[in-house]
């Protein structure tokens, strides 16, 4: 393949994976920003989204139904987890890490015992092949990237332009003051946790036709999401977006011109550099 072809493929693949990654990581960042907790089970909501979507699609054959039901199921699961796991331990940072590790295993094993250890896929709702001069590309991937961009924009609007978004930002800045001003902090916590889970689940639904629903698929998503929020700064939506693009594009470029393994190494080095020189991440609160 010619150099332009390779460069184009790298940028295309990088943009698409950057957008999907941003959508996957957004929930993790949002939950940390508002609730100050690290949700280790985040990847499992992504997995749950894909698995529920598989069931819905097999039963109804409607992708739209899957796009609605899967985030609802994930969101409801998150609400239950919030009420019965996180609230009783008062969102203490260390305790929530341990509790969400437990949640990770509970969700994973539940899916394993109900859905089974299989990797199952579905046909994409829209399928066409884009034929570039150098190579072909799945049209559905472009559609996914577009939908991810729309959802990112919608979340942005939700956080910056609505009352609930205002409450979230207020809680993020100062929990006690927000409560003093009548912000229902506990309900905002629950809402943020459910929203984070729902966003991850939507990402899971969207990738289902590209990949397969498998009970272990959440681990990789979690790892990448953590990389994104560490580089971007936990709690910063802008940072999440920037970091997701950075990881997506370096992954695309390094994978195509060197090797995909090197791409992962480069991303890990980024994380290490950020942790050493810019503890709060690029857009985090610790950053100047």
């Amino acid at each position: 393949m010619s150099l332009e072809g390779q460069l184009f493929l790298a940028l295309l693949e990088g943009t698409v994976s950057g957008l999907v990654l941003a959508l996957t990581a957004l929930g993790l960042s949002l939950v940390f920003g508002v609730m100050r907790i690290v949700n280790v089970a985040h990847g499992e909501f992504y997995m749950l989204g894909a698995v529920v979507a598989w069931y819905v699609l097999t039963a109804t054959n409607s992708f739209l139904a899957a796009l609605v039901v899967a985030p609802l199921v994930a969101g409801a699961t998150a609400l239950v987890a919030d009420r019965f796991v996180l609230r009783p331990i008062r969102y203490a940072p260390e305790a929530t890490i341990v509790a969400t590790i437990g949640l990770l295993y509970i969700l994973q094993q539940l899916v394993l015992s109900i859905y089974g250890p299989y990797a199952r896929s579905v046909a994409p709702p829209v399928y066409f092949r884009l034929d570039f001069p150098w190579f072909g590309y799945s049209g559905y991937k472009i559609v996914v990237a577009g939908l991810a961009a729309l959802l990112l924009a919608a979340t942005w609007l939700l956080v910056t332009r609505t009352r609930i978004g205002l409450y979230m930002r207020a809680t993020q800045q100062d929990r006690e003051t927000a409560q003093a001003f009548g912000v229902p902090v506990e309900r905002i916590y629950a809402a943020a946790f459910a929203l984070g889970a729902a966003l991850a689940a939507i990402a899971g639904v969207l990738v289902l036709p590209i990949q397969q629903a498998h009970y272990l698929m959440g681990l990789d998503a979690l790892l990448l999401s953590f990389m994104v929020v560490i580089i971007g700064g936990l709690g910063s939506l802008k940072g999440t977006l920037a970091a997701a693009f950075m990881i997506g594009l370096t992954d695309g470029l390094v994978s195509v011109f060197f090797t995909p393994t090197l791409a992962r190494i480069v991303a890990s080095v980024f994380v290490a550099l950020v942790l050493v020189f810019r503890t709060g991440g690029l857009y985090g609160e610790g950053a100047a």
Partner: protein, 437 residues
């Protein structure tokens, strides 16, 4: 020491009782009693103490699709063995334990089966990283360990006297036998896409050797890490001028891999030669796989009925519960791993043959079991070996069988070529029989 003494004493008791039971069954036999009643007689007699075979199975993890079918095949084979009077007159009992397709867990499973369940033999492991981790522990525990992995690790001499692979041909033999067909019919400039661990490395090394010997050229190598879930970024590494793309992939991402390969190359694709591993447990008619039409795939045992037409293949297929399209009889979407799971069936019959020939009674007879198995040279085609006759090389602990090349025609696989056993055989380097027991 105590355990050893107890076992010997038990063995003596069992042997005595066995002789008694033998007489009893001879007496009862001609009266042609109800088989169910006969089995209760066996069970009631101490001679009927079951032969316990430990089954290390990938129920979860990346090997789950294979594990499910290995499990079904083992169950079907044991049912048949027990219907026909068990092994050396003893009923067979499978003790299955999930290893999560995880090497660390694999070692624990071997220990658990050997020490806690006190099984007579362990068998059934598939994924090469689990085999390579578990085999040394089986060697230390001195328990015969029969894998169904198709990796070259057993024949390489790197395992031990206790590790065998009699039921499925190893990768080195497979690719050696297939290379002439690929070079003659598809092209000489070949790029290989393979998983970046032991199993893929066997492909790379031995197919590379075979190609060089026949005057072909490995044009490019594209290793893919085993946990990868997106493959688009690997395809630009297939160099221009590639005539044949040789692909072999395993794990949950196989369907994504094949689909993305089709999307990438479109009509300008090189000729494709794949290992069915890239499509095991996957429906050839899946959306996105239309481009495979006309391409070639290796099969160890043809998935579609009628492609290898023997009465034994038919009975085997029926017994395991596979329909004419290679799917489960109860769920047409549940595609089998037909080119691998026959090895489970055949390995159980190898255990039966070696136990009966060596007069194995208890773990104190492992020496006889192993030496007897090492001396066997052929497993004849039949219901016990439906995939075909196997040549067994005792010093390598490895079986060798015929291979098939199939072409995708009308979204099905049609056999177009069959290799002879000799085409895959190579000069053995290793000799396990020299190792102490």
């Amino acid at each position: 020491m105590l355990a050893g003494k107890l076992t010997r004493r038990q063995a003596l008791k069992a042997a005595g009782a066995l002789a008694g039971a033998g007489v009893a069954s001879k007496l009862i036999g001609p009266l042609s009693i109800d088989p169910a009643l006969r089995s209760t007689i066996y069970a009631a007699a101490p001679s009927g103490s079951p032969l316990k075979i430990g089954f290390q199975v990938h129920r979860t993890g990346i090997g789950a699709a294979y594990g499910k079918w290995y499990d079904r095949t083992a169950t079907a084979a044991v049912k048949l063995i027990n219907e026909k009077g068990g092994i050396a007159g003893r009923p067979v009992e499978i003790v299955a334990e999930d290893d999560g397709t995880d090497p660390k867990r694999g070692v624990e499973v071997v220990e658990k089966l050997a020490q806690q369940h006190k099984v007579d033999f362990i068998f059934g492991t598939l994924f090469s990283h689990v085999v390579i981790a578990s085999a040394p522990r089986a060697g230390e525990l001195k328990i015969p360990y029969l894998v169904v992995s198709e990796g070259y690790h057993v024949a390489s001499g790197k395992m031990n006297r206790y590790t065998f692979q009699p039921g499925i041909t190893d990768v080195r033999a497979q690719v050696t036998a297939l290379a002439p067909f690929i070079l003659k019919n598809l092209g000489k400039k070949i790029t290989m896409v393979f998983p970046d661990y032991a199993f893929g490395h066997d492909h790379r090394d031995f197919f590379g050797q075979a190609v060089a010997k026949l005057g072909g050229k490995i044009h490019g190598l594209v290793p893919i890490p085993p946990t990868e879930s997106s493959f688009t970024k690997y395809f630009p590494k297939v160099p221009a001028g590639t005539e044949v793309l040789y692909h072999v992939m395993v794990g949950p991402g196989v369907l994504t891999f094949v689909k993305e390969m089709g999307e990438h190359f479109g009509k300008k694709k090189p000729k494709l030669f794949g290992f069915i591993d890239s499509l095991e447990a996957v429906d050839i008619g899946s959306p996105g796989l239309e481009y495979l039409e006309g391409s070639y795939l290796w099969e160890a045992f043809p998935r579609y009925a009628g492609q290898y037409n023997t009465q034994w293949e038919k009975t085997y297929r029926e017994r395991v519960g596979v329909d004419a399209n290679g799917a489960s009889k109860s769920d047409p979407k549940d595609i089998s791993t037909y080119s691998h799971m026959f090895g489970v069936w055949e390995t159980l019959f190898v255990i039966k043959e070696a136990v009966e020939k060596s007069g194995y009674k208890s773990p104190s007879d492992y020496k006889g079991f192993i030496e007897t198995l090492e001396k066997i040279e052929t497993f004849k085609e039949g219901l016990e070996h439906p995939q075909g006759t196997k040549r067994f090389v005792g010093r390598l602990h490895q079986g060798f069988g015929q291979q098939f090349v199939s072409q995708v025609q009308g979204k099905k696989l049609k056999v177009v070529h069959r290799t002879k056993i000799e085409e895959g055989m190579y000069t053995p380097d290793a000799d396990y029989t020299k190792q102490p027991l």
